[in-house]
Point group: C2
Chain length 327, copies 2
């Protein structure tokens, strides 16, 4: 910067101001300095600027859950992409972090060490209490997940209750009576989807059959085994509502292998509406969650939080997409 200043015949302050678009510098000077900097291929050292300014234009993001497993869920990744875009639009950067589940404090380190100004956490897993603690301790974060009533942190999430309800209601309308639920209800989001499921059943005068409710870990590698063993034991159902499309895909595969016709014998609805859902045969009915809006909303809430504002909750609509698998 000193070089640029010297060559421009001004002081470093002026260069700094010109390059950061300060209104103090007249447009002409500003132009000249910018051009010179460009020619010299000079770029402001962001680290030094951060140090002086005492803030960082980078935010950290982590996907909770078994790293490799969670990183392979297309829906969660589409949220990561959307967050990256939203940050990009504001000239901010994204630091991607792997969280070792043994060590929740790792989250705060990123902020404490000044590497990032705030944190976006995708998925709550069973970390709700820990996240509450961190938020209470003043850690600036925003979370994608279920909108829990006692959350001390800002949350963006889909309308899981409604989504679960819609999916189930749709299956009932299609004439299904024995509707299985597939999902890990230790997950707050899945718990809500399950509540919606129960609600829709109740409304139709049906009772949830515990035998038709299968718990599994989101993104479990052995998902297929779990599904197979469940199908081996359980034949008395005419529909499945899966709490994620990844699970629904496995179910589709398992059913296909057993020559069970979808939707003729069993109807299937998934959740998230990942890209391939539409391209399968049969194409997969699913509950769409708008990941673009999710990314924008997460960044917005995080910045509000970083600016000291109270912290809101944003619930995004859940929209049932009807396709062949439940026709």
């Amino acid at each position: 910067m000193a070089d640029v200043a010297r060559l421009a015949g001004v002081s470093a302050s002026t260069v700094s101001r010109a390059l950061s678009g300060s209104p103090l510098i007249p447009e002409a000077t500003s132009q000249r300095i910018r051009e010179l900097a460009r020619q010299l291929n000079y770029k402001v050292n962001v680290g030094a600027a951060n140090l002086r300014r005492r803030d960082v234009r980078t935010i950290g993001l982590m996907v909770l859950g078994d790293p490799m497993k969670a990183m392979s869920d297309p829906f969660l990744l589409s949220i990561v992409g959307a967050v990256a875009d939203a940050l990009d639009a504001r000239g901010m950067n994204l630091l991607l972090s792997r969280v070792k589940s043994e060590n929740p404090e790792q989250l705060a380190t990123l902020v404490d060490s000044g590497q990032v100004g705030g944190l976006i956490v995708v998925g709550q897993l069973n970390w709700h209490d820990r996240l509450n603690q961190l938020a209470a301790a003043g850690l600036p974060l925003a979370v994608w997940g279920a909108c829990l009533p006692d959350a001390l942190y800002p949350v963006v999430g889909g309308d899981n209750l409604r989504g679960g309800y819609e999916a189930t209601h749709h299956l009932i309308e299609q004439g299904c009576r024995q509707i299985a639920f597939f999902g890990d209800t230790r997950h707050p989001e899945v718990r809500l989807r399950h509540q919606g499921y129960v609600q829709a059943l109740a409304e139709a005068g049906l009772h949830p059959n515990p035998q038709l409710h299968q718990v599994f870990q989101f993104g479990d590698t052995r998902l297929r085994e779990v599904i197979d063993s469940w199908l081996d034991r359980q034949h008395d159902f005419d529909a499945v509502f899966a709490a994620s499309d990844v699970a629904a895909l496995s179910i589709l595969g398992a059913l296909g292998e057993r020559r069970v016709q979808v939707p003729a014998q069993v109807r299937l609805v998934g959740y998230d509406d990942i890209a391939i859902a539409a391209h399968l045969h049969p194409s997969l009915s699913s509950v769409r969650q708008p990941s673009d809006s999710a990314g924008k909303a997460l960044v917005e809430l995080l910045l509000e939080r970083m600016a000291g504002q109270p912290g809101r909750t944003i619930m995004l609509p859940a929209e049932l997409v009807r396709r062949e698998s439940s026709a």
Copy 2:
């Protein structure tokens, strides 16, 4: 840090040394200082440390290609995950960047502005020349892609030629004679896979039929349309070799919709061996590329490059995984 120093009754220098594990400080003192820092929840400011040390322990990663599209290819994402892990293991961080294809210089900015010490680029697209330019200009980078002979940058890639050969050879062994190739050969990696395909055909005395070669954009949203229109025009084939699993999935869906039996009428082999490939019905034969090793190798090569070493090429094995779709 001043606080910690004062409370420990030592100088900031000593604290700095203790916290960075300098051998100058006796173990006892070091222990004491670390413990105190922990109690005070003190974390070294990474930005300031970087500034002083004049290096950064963060590297940038970008996936080339239409952002949303590229970000949705599970295989590319598994590489991102693997890179994140490899960096994590070395105490380094990962800055995720979206690249706007209009502006290649954006890549260098991340390094020039001191935000990252080097760059990992996933996919070459048609950027080979630009990457060569950047590398020639001294930008430290490592690339996942095809091992091109004139590359000035370090490359990690699968053995695409071999992979294409193996897949095709396998289909020929299964008795197929009219084998279609699906992939965008503007992509260097795909071009090599296609060469392997041609090689295997030639070896069996077959000639590639141009009508059986369909170009499409990797990750193209309208992939399904392209496939459908192709299938409408073209019926004279008994196998498809798809240059990516994502494409293979769409093809599987399209064939299913037309009641074409896989593998009975048409055999199918994909590429990448993404997680769901094994869970579909029929399960998808594919050529596996080891993304874990890829991540490690990319980080290794980049660090070598950052240390001023010459820059090597690492070719990872391609392994055909036989499943139902080509049985």
